[in-house]
């Protein structure tokens, strides 16, 4: 084994998670998982890579350049790192066939991969929360998945002044585009173009719009329509009337409005005709969550995709859901001062055990730490040779331990000194009562012995 002075880096667009970074990601995941479980969703997951054709069947060969794909050395099967979770979800639902419960409420927290040039808020690997309801045709399912997304964001400290759920409907968007002269078979190209508009220079947008059959006047009209956004506390008919949207889409949005209201969500939502989503498979309601100021990329995106499971050979089953990644969310939380800057997301030790260095204390340091860990406590002690008590207290304080247990001369009499490092109070506790005493103190109910 030759020594090397080359320091290896994580690959471009990939992340190392040191303890502080990991504490942030765990904080996001806990908010995601808690919101999912409170709403009765069960967690699933699938393989990190899938057969390549799982992605090409839906999106065509064109997607291959956006994927990390490979074969096994000497093998002939094409695989790809999953770029999104929905195809896996559809495959798993298909595998269950007729035994799939109705409704099926699933969530997943997979790692996803994109073979793109990394950009701010968009990395080559990210972790994405996915929440889906299969088997419910009505807008109460759309409202519920929005409720789950908002519950997680509220759990992280974000309110209606920080985030906005921007909602539209593919039917409404298609009707507008048809009015402008977009042919039916170019509709999904048009959705894709609108979805990417903020990333394109105006002349490129106009050029690509022209290819869809839109002249300059049409592009101006389109621009006006997709800038239409009103708070959802107003009825969606307000904009429907203005833009002549089809009645069935508007009816769905009205029912959705009622369902959002029942869940207290209207203050978080806007009706926004600029939301269409880029992916081909959406069929009804579509929505995104953005920071209110519009500084970052979308935090989450979702909608209704009633034909997806069928596409994978499964039963015809209505479905809706969303994905929310960890990268943009982390940027927004840092921007709002809700994470970062301190270590307080790291797990705090319940107990730091100190030894004065006398034989009785030394003999007890590890067995006592072991016993306290066995009853579920997070316990630390110094690993330094020095038994200077001041230095050990400094270590205890540096890792934000709640209690310090000092093994000193009192050990001979079957007692220890316990210091509550938050309260600054100090107590003599008999060794035989120590576990009970500590458990009670940490629960907030202890009074000194």
């Amino acid at each position: 084994m030759a020594a090397s002075t080359h320091i290896f880096q994580a690959p471009k667009g990939m992340r190392d998670f040191f303890p502080e970074d990991m504490a942030v990601r765990r904080h996001l995941e806990q908010a995601w998982r808690s919101a999912s479980i409170r709403h009765g969703f069960a967690e699933i997951n699938g393989p990190t890579f899938e057969h390549l054709d799982l992605y090409t069947i839906k999106s065509g060969e064109g997607i291959i350049s956006e994927l990390f794909s490979f074969q096994r050395s000497g093998g002939d099967t094409d695989y790809a790192l999953r770029p999104e979770f929905t195809p896996t979800l559809a495959r798993m639902a298909t595998a269950k066939g007729r035994s799939l419960p109705i409704p099926t409420k699933w969530f997943a927290i997979p790692d996803l991969f994109r073979a793109e040039r990394p950009q701010k808020g968009r990395l080559r690997e990210h972790r994405q929360w996915n929440v889906d309801i299969l088997g419910v045709v009505g807008p109460e399912a759309d409202a519920e998945v929005i409720a789950v997304a908002v519950a997680a964001l509220r759990g992280l400290g974000l309110g209606p002044a920080d985030i906005r759920v921007r909602i539209s409907h593919r039917g409404a968007a298609a009707s507008m585009l048809a009015d402008l002269g977009v042919a039916n078979d170019r509709m999904s190209d048009a959705f894709n173009l609108i979805d990417r508009r903020e990333k394109l220079p105006p002349e490129v947008f106009a050029e690509q719009a022209a290819e869809l059959g839109l002249d300059e006047t049409d592009v101006t009209r389109l621009g006006e329509m997709i800038c239409t956004r009103i708070p959802a506390v107003q009825s969606p008919t307000t904009i429907a009337d203005r833009h002549g949207l089809p009645a069935d889409s508007v009816n769905e949005l009205e029912t959705l409005s009622t369902e959002l209201d029942r869940r207290g969500l209207l203050p978080f939502c806007d009706w926004d005709l600029g939301i269409v989503r880029g992916l081909a498979y959406y069929t009804g309601t579509v929505w995104e969550i953005h920071d209110a100021a519009g500084t970052f990329r979308a935090l989450a995106g979702g909608g209704r995709y009633d034909h997806l499971v069928e596409l994978f050979g499964g039963p015809s089953i209505p479905a809706c859901g969303f994905g929310m990644g960890d990268v943009v969310l982390g940027l927004l939380l840092a921007d709002r001062g809700l994470i970062g800057g301190d270590e307080m997301l790291l797990a705090r030790p319940d107990v730091f055990v100190l030894s004065s260095g006398i034989d009785e204390a030394e003999a007890m340091l590890i067995p006592l730490s072991t016993a306290l860990r066995d009853i579920g406590l997070h316990v630390r002690h110094t690993w330094k040779a020095s038994r200077n008590i001041g230095k050990q207290f400094k270590e205890a304080s540096n890792c934000h331990a709640r209690l310090a247990v000092v093994l000193g001369d009192e050990v001979g009499d079957g007692a220890v000194v316990v210091k509550d490092l938050d309260a600054g109070a100090q107590f003599d506790v008999p060794l035989r009562d120590l576990s009970t005493w500590i458990t009670r103190r940490l629960a907030g109910g202890a009074s000194p012995a």
Copy 2:
């Protein structure tokens, strides 16, 4: 989007995690994470794929056939899905350089990948718990990482009759092999051969041993030595004397014995000269955890690797640690009846809200569910159109809900009926007290209003 009747499968050796499977994996992960945190380890993670040369620098080009490697379409950088976590750990420690705390206690729960033919207990993707201490030269660190591993397994219900920690020392093994005539530069080939012996037919083993310079008598002697195993409640000198092991290795094992004893671990451990570990980078103590009957592959493997961080251009720093995968552990737990067969690892709803179908109940179903979710409760309700109360109770019972809240005629008087589905008891509760009543009841302290 064309319909397809082809049902896609997960790739060979990869797994779909339906809710029951995922509940099992979360159960393992919670035991792993809890044991890590109780012992003061902080969680880290790294990229799912790394630069290919991170793996070839240590193991040579020969490892490439065991990896899933790839380039980005149009790119020229070689990547590989991580087959183990230790190189990432060494890279991250190296990146910290002189600012790395001493000791550094890290754990990680990454997904790992092997481009092999899948076998029982060995899949192409698995999740592996990694625990490492950097910066401690003495056996107290080896004892602590063993303590963490055993704490997690005990947390899952396994005792000394189920699992055995089999411990040896690379120095002792090298000395035995040198006695048999194995040259110093063939030592790591010899470790690898011994490590694989149970997977090889005897004649292949003898053939490969001959290439290392061992004749038939040597192979017999080697076979006797590596079958030497005694309970660790006996002193390691017992076998050291028998096999003439070097004093420094034996001293380390004796100190380790003391450290294991302080942690109450000796009843779980054996001294076992058959343990050498296959990987080249171990330098001292090596150990594996097996099921006591020896039915399965190793549950965990680890040891000391004092030169690894240096190899990646980092500081010279002693280190030890282990990895434990989810696949063999899952097989053992199922074999012991500690998981599987029922749904009890799935999250139980705290509350199932039922509606009699009258207008007042219908108007309250979703707002009440939302309010209870907002205070942190796991709440479900039926998604069926029918308001048959018996069917709703059946649904509540099928998902193992703890409490059923029935919205019926009493709603008009500001009251609901709450049924404790575990206890079978039923209570009338005023709506205004409902949140408090439920919270108290679930905490086990409620008495009926």
